[in-house]
């Protein structure tokens, strides 16, 4: 479904990704783990067209999307809950969700999708007309995910959805990830919480200073001594 071929990305003179190759197949949950600054966010920003690769290609459903603007990729079926949630603090919860459905015309379909988001995260329903800026971190994460789903993506990118959240909320978020997967949406999950990420994914890539250093089924990586030491704190 999604393939990165030898992708390198720079911020000015600084190279943030070096020859990254990876793939995500239809229906999978793939996780990308790595320490702070490894290049995880850069990878997702490159896939969504917020950054352009200096070298290499991003291919989505057979088409080279490396140079496509972000809003066109949303129309193609890619959606992202960005790092730091990126909710529109000045808009209400409902307006945030409406923006998630920006490219949709059919009002009844949008209403149904909004109900679905409220069902997944009932807290959002309670806060429906509140400004997103007044929500707690966990609620903002729910909103970011609910909003990303409003475009009915085929590929959902999640950038550190559990960052800075209380354990109970982290649990809710990962339950939601399982639910989204069970409905057939392909997910690329970026996490520093390697333990949870490996437990909720099919395959994993490990990124270190802009390079993929390991890959494999999540179960295998979770038992790999190097991963245990470096990322699982065992």
């Amino acid at each position: 479904m999604l393939t990165l071929e030898n992708v390198s990305v720079n911020y000015g003179a600084i190279e943030a990704l070096t020859g990254v190759s990876m793939h995500v197949e239809q229906g999978e949950v793939v996780t990308l783990i790595g320490a702070n600054g490894a290049g995880k966010t850069t990878t997702l920003r490159t896939i969504t067209g917020l950054l352009q690769p200096r070298q290499g290609k991003v291919i989505f459903e057979g088409e080279d999307i490396s140079a496509k603007p972000t809003h066109k990729l949303v129309a193609r079926g890619i959606s992202m809950s960005p790092e730091g949630r990126g909710v529109f603090a000045n808009l209400s919860v409902r307006e945030n969700l409406q923006m998630g459905a920006y490219l949709k015309k059919n009002k009844t379909e949008i209403a149904a999708d909004m109900e679905r988001a409220f069902k997944m995260f009932p807290r959002l329903k309670e806060r429906e007309s509140q400004k997103a800026g007044t929500l707690s971190g966990g609620e903002q994460q729910m909103l970011a995910m609910g909003r990303a789903l409003m475009s009915n993506p085929r590929l959902l990118l999640l950038d550190e959805p559990s960052l800075g959240l209380a354990p109970l909320v982290v649990h809710t978020i990962f339950e939601a990830i399982d639910e989204i997967k069970s409905k057939g949406t392909t997910i690329l999950l970026v996490e520093q919480n390697a333990h949870a990420a490996l437990g909720h994914s099919d395959r994993a890539y490990v990124l270190e200073t802009g390079r993929i250093v390991m890959e494999g089924p999540s179960k295998d990586l979770a038992n790999d001594p190097r991963i245990k030491e470096a990322y699982l704190g065992e």
């Binding site: 529109f88 808009l91 923006m99």
Partner: protein, 308 residues
Amino acid sequence: MDTFVQQLINGLNIGAIYALIALGYTMVYGILRLINFAHGDVYMVGAFAGYFLALSLGLAAAPSFLSLGIVLVGSMLIAAVVGVIIERFAYRPVRKYSRMTTLIMAIGVSLLIENLFVAQIGAAPRAFPDFLGSQSQLPYRLFGNAAISKAQIVIFLVSVALMVLLQWIVYKTKVGTAMRAVSFNLNSAKLMGINTDAIISLTFGIGSALAAAGGVLTAQYNPNIDPLMGILTGLKAFVAAVLGGIGNIPGAVLGGLLIGAAETFVVGYGHHIGIASTYRDAVAFAILILVLLIRPSGLLGSTVQEKV
């Protein structure tokens, strides 16, 4: 009391026009964090667009509300196109550089427009046709000695209607919600599938149309229009936007009305406290300095002030 009411009417009338122009500054700032120094010139372009439209359609000879309406809407459309072109060809290419670059570009665009107009049509003022008829400046007595003229009524009604329309667009429509989303977080907006460049164009278009309306309305009480008319008025409208809290739409309206009122009161009452009416144009800038010293975020702006 009568004179107070009279000054207030006059002040709010001028203020409504400042407000229309201030809205464009504040909307563009809200979305790009750019002070669009060419905005005052778009106001001038709007006035001239109205002037040439009236001449070419022969409307000057047929004063009526309809003529005014045609000229108003026509000039708003022309100015909207001009605003969109300025953004597309001057600001967008340099947006990826520092904000200072865009700011310098704005100053360049402003000076270019002014000097192009001077070169093309000369610096001498032209007389904008009077659509409201010879009676337009005659006052309707309200009470006591306070009165309001037909031109003032038209200015009030049109500017209030436009502000209500803008409020509706920004807060009640999908595209308005997108404008607010873009102004809060550009990248998040892109991730929604919003074509942010199109939203930015639209913002320039709307802001420029409002400035043009200000230009045509100004000409209803002061028919002398010239290529440099946008400089001072533009700066005052900018001060109005800062006073209200730049980036804040209701703030721009409030700031415009306050600057207009302050100006008129200086003319009307200043001499009592030793301020001559010639200080009229200085008032706005004195207010600017006071705002920056006391409440840099403006009256309705958020308290966290971003550096331009």
